[in-house]
């Protein structure tokens, strides 16, 4: 499980759960759990409103959609003025 979580920051909001393309995250009442189907795409990291999630490395893909088999890459806007977080240089 490559995604790191700061449980003090987590709001138990489920935003990451519903955004994960591989359905690898579960919210057990207030506790976030990742399973090993995670493909390190970083969507949850971007989506998390509490900035509670991190991926140690920048991940852009290509990733494989486990359901459709299609490949996809992550594109980050990296506009000026936005914070350059863990997965976007």
């Amino acid at each position: 499980m490559p995604v790191e979580i700061d449980r003090v920051l987590c709001l138990s909001c489920g935003a990451c759960v519903g955004s994960c393309p591989t359905e690898s995250i579960t919210l057990v009442d207030t506790w976030i759990e990742f399973d090993d189907s995670c493909i390190s795409c970083g969507v949850c990291v971007t989506v998390c409103p509490a900035a509670a999630l991190r991926l140690p490395e920048k991940e852009i893909g290509p990733f494989k959609d486990p359901k459709t088999g299609e490949e996809f890459v992550r594109e980050y806007p990296c506009k000026d003025g936005t914070p350059k977080g863990g997965v976007c240089e």
């Binding site: 519903g18 393309p21 971007t46 359901k67």
Partner: protein, 395 residues
Amino acid sequence: MKELTCDMLVIGAGPGGSTTARYAAERGVDVLMIEKRQEIGAPVRCGEGIARIWLNELGIEPDDAWISKEVDGARVISPSGHILEMNEKMAGNETGYVVERDLFDQYLARTAVKAGSELMVKTMATGLKQLDDGVEVKTTGIHGDMRIKAKVVVGADGFESRVAGWAGIDTRLPPEHVNTCLQYRMMNIGNAEEFNDFYAGECAPGGYVWVFSKGDGEANVGIGVQASLLNGYGGVKYYLDKFVKKHPFLSKGTIIEVVGGAVSVGPPPDETMKGNVLLVGDAARQIDALTGGGVVNACDAGKVAGNVIADAVESGKVNEEALKPYESGWRERMEKMLVRNYIAKEKILTMSDDFFDRIILALQEVEIERVTTLDILTAVQKKDPELVEELADLL
């Protein structure tokens, strides 16, 4: 492992689940509703704006127990501060009441239980299997591990829905169709007594900032931002903090609660049921992509689902064929609006701050009855004909 059977199992006791349960139970269906949280509705994930008209339609008596403020309308505020005031009729689904969502959700769950539905909180669904004659759901929680066999399962498990995937319905969202939200409940703020305010423009890429008054100098100050327009981590918080800092009436306030969440902002999915499993509310992505409002839609679809299921149970044949009227029924009620507002949102995405200012300025001076696309275009045409060309594809 404990084994249970029922006519209808509802997974998730949010507004969608509770309304489905209530309508089915009122017609004598044997309903069980399970909710994984220890307290229904908490922690809150909502701006808490709800339309007044709609409560009447569902026969819900407004109750001070869960209403924190009645508001007279909404205002849209452009990047340079031009204000468009809308009365309740124009403003649509998110104004009328600002509620306490946790208490509101609990109230809806109580009405379901009063109608005869069973409820188990702190009970989480962990898997689902379609059978020839129904659905089997595995659960865990304070009632121990259970296997529940139901004729129909309603997935009302919200944005984070797992029921959809288990049932073979693909409702996954690309980052372009996710607006991720952060909200501060603030006190000691000076403004925003009467209105629900929406701030449009680059302050919230692909979304907006809302300030919903809760009375007494308190308000929900929240932001929704399109996930694909964010870098790395912390983007949502960055934009909300920037907004609060920029507005003196807010920056002096105190944050007394932090709320997170996400809403889907894509077009409605192709299918919201499979076999004997129906999806309701956020699980079915029945959310208004323009406003992010979904409480009303979840309840509306829940009412349709509850009645369709009751019909099926009464007829003695509970199968996909008998349940199909749900798919057409909810679409009849809201699909057009969902599609129209999705297209409008996509258009708004391409607008610059300057463009927003011009639209709000143009609209300010024209009396419009309702904010429909056509009314906006007609109004804008009178004021700023050039704008209309750029808006033309909305037609």
